[in-house]
Amino acid sequence: MADSFDRKRLAPLKDTVAIVGVGETDYGADYRGAGGKAVGKGEARVDHYTLASRALKRALDDSGLRKDDIDGLCTGPTLSGERASELWGLNPRWSGSGDAAQCIIEATMAINCGLCTTVALVYGNAQRSMDTAYGGARVTGGGITSYFYYAPWGLTSQGALYALFFQRHKLLYGTTDEQLGAIAVAFRKHACMNPNAVMQKPLTIEDYMKAPYVAEPLRLFDYCLINDGGVAIIVRRADMAKDLKQKPVMVSAIGWSEENVDATQLRPRLKDFYHTAHRGVAAQVYPMAGVTPADVDVFATYDSFSVHLLASLEGFGFCKEGEGGPFVQNGRIEVGGQLPCNTSGGMLSESYMQSWNHQPELVRQLRGGLGPRQVEGAEVAQYVHDVAGKCKSIIYTKSA
C-alpha cells in the first residue's frame, strides 16, 4: 500500500483533544461475586448495556462533567449506538463505533472537524455470564473469516491462530516457551498490584510451564480471561479540558494501518507477523507525537494472547524482528523495568475488555499516584492495537 498519509495534516492534531474522564466496572469483585456468589457461565443477570451504563456514570463522575455536556457518542462493538443513546437520554451531534483505539481516533477527527466537543466512548460486555464462544462449533459466521473457515479440518479459535503465529516465531527465531511465559508472569505480577483485577494470585514461570496446553504451543496462561465488564472514556476538545476535576491527559498521536490482503489464508500473520501494518502506524505516531520508542515510559498492547506483545514490540521497533523473546525476559516489561507493559494486568490478568481497559490504565499512569504499580515519572504512554492485522496506535502524554 502506498505510504500516502499526510504528515503535515496529521501534525497539527497533536494535543488537540484530551482524555478528561475514565470509568470501569468492578472486574474482580464482579468476577468473584458479591458474598461469594459468582455469576456462572450462562447465568446472565445483566447485559452489555448494564455494564456500559455503570462505566459511563463513573467516567462522568471522574471528569466532573454532566451527562448534558456530552454531544458525541462512540460505542464498542457489542452495543447499538442508537439504543445506547436512547438508554442514556442522549441526542448526540455525532456518533461512531468500533474498538477503543478506533473510537479515540474517530472522536479526535470529529472534534477537530467541529462536529462536536465532548465525546463519550462506551463499551460493555457480559461475555462470561452470557457464555460467549470464541471457538468451536458455535462459531460459524460473522467476524473474521479465518476464525471459522477451516472448521472442516478441525482448525478453530482465535487462540489457535495465535498458536500458529508463535510456532512460526519459534521455528524462525528459536523463541522459547519460557520467553513467552515471561509475558504472562509479568502481567500477573501487575494484576496483583491492581485491586480491581480479576486475577490476584501470583504466577511463577514454573506455574506457567506446568499449566496445560490449549492449542500447543500456547498454554492456559497465554490466553486472556473471559469476564464481564464495562469501560467508558470521556474525550474533550483540549481547550475545554482545562480546569476540570482531573488533569487532562493529551492525545498526542493517532495512527492506523491495516493488513488485510490474504488475511483468511493467514499470509500476513505467518509470513509478516503483521509488521507491515506495525511499521505503517509507527511512521505516523512517533513523528506526530515527536517521540521515539525510547521515550515511551509505559506501554500497552492488545493482549487477547501473550503473543501479541512479541509482535508489537518487534513491529514498532522496541527491539529487532525476532528478538522479542529475549526482550521480554528479566523484568524488562515489568513495573520498575525498562518498558513496563500492560501495567493493569492486561487482558490476560486484569480484564478482557477487548483493549478498552488499557486506555484508563494509561490515563491513570499519566495522572500519577497509582500506588505500587505507578511507573515513576511517566510522561509518555503508548497503546498498540494489533488485532489480526488491523493495527492502530495512540500516544498519550501528560499535560504540561
Binding site: G141, A151, W153, V214, A215, E216, Q265, R267
Partner: protein, 137 residues
C-alpha cells in the same frame, strides 16, 4: 457413510471448490486476466479486480509453514489431540489442512508435503477433504 466433519462455510464459490473435491480434483481459482491464484474462493481477483477466473488444477504440493496441536476438544468430530498445519502451496496461496502419515514430532519448517484425500460430510452433503502427507516415493 462418509466421515462427519464440522460444517463448511458455504457460498457460491466455496460450493464450486467442494464440488470438484467430489471427483478428487484439487482446483483453485486462477485469475483469467492476471493469472493470480486465490484462496479462499471468491468473486474477484484481489490483484486486478477481474471477476473472470478458471478453476485450475494445482499440483497439491506445499511446504510446511506452521502447525498447532489442539490439546482440548473444540469439535466432537476432532477429539484431542488434533494437529492442524499451514502449507505454502507451490502456486502461492497458503492452505490450512491437517497432516496424515507423519508424526507431529517429525514436522519441520519447509518440509514438503503432498495432497491426499479423505472423505467428509456435513449438512451440505458428502465431499472429499484435501489433507497432506509425505510425498510417495
Amino acid at each position: 457413510m462418509a466421515t462427519p466433519r464440522p460444517i463448511r462455510s458455504m457460498d457460491p464459490y466455496a460450493e464450486q471448490f467442494w464440488a470438484y473435491t467430489q471427483k478428487k480434483e484439487f482446483r483453485l481459482q486462477k485469475c483469467s486476466d492476471c493469472g493470480k491464484f486465490r484462496w479462499p474462493p471468491g468473486p474477484t481477483c484481489d490483484k486486478c479486480l477481474s471477476d473472470e477466473a478458471e478453476w485450475t488444477a494445482v499440483a497439491g504440493r506445499g511446504k510446511v509453514l506452521s502447525w498447532t496441536t489442539f490439546r482440548r476438544k473444540y469439535f466432537e468430530e476432532y477429539p484431542a489431540p488434533h494437529t492442524t498445519i499451514v502449507l505454502e502451496l507451490d502456486e502461492g496461496p497458503l492452505f490450512v489442512s491437517y497432516p496424515v502419515d507423519v508424526e507431529v514430532a517429525k514436522l519441520s519448517e519447509g518440509m514438503v508435503l503432498s495432497l491426499r484425500w479423505t472423505d467428509g460430510q456435513d449438512k451440505f452433503g458428502e465431499y472429499n477433504l484435501p489433507v497432506f502427507g509425505p510425498p510417495s516415493a
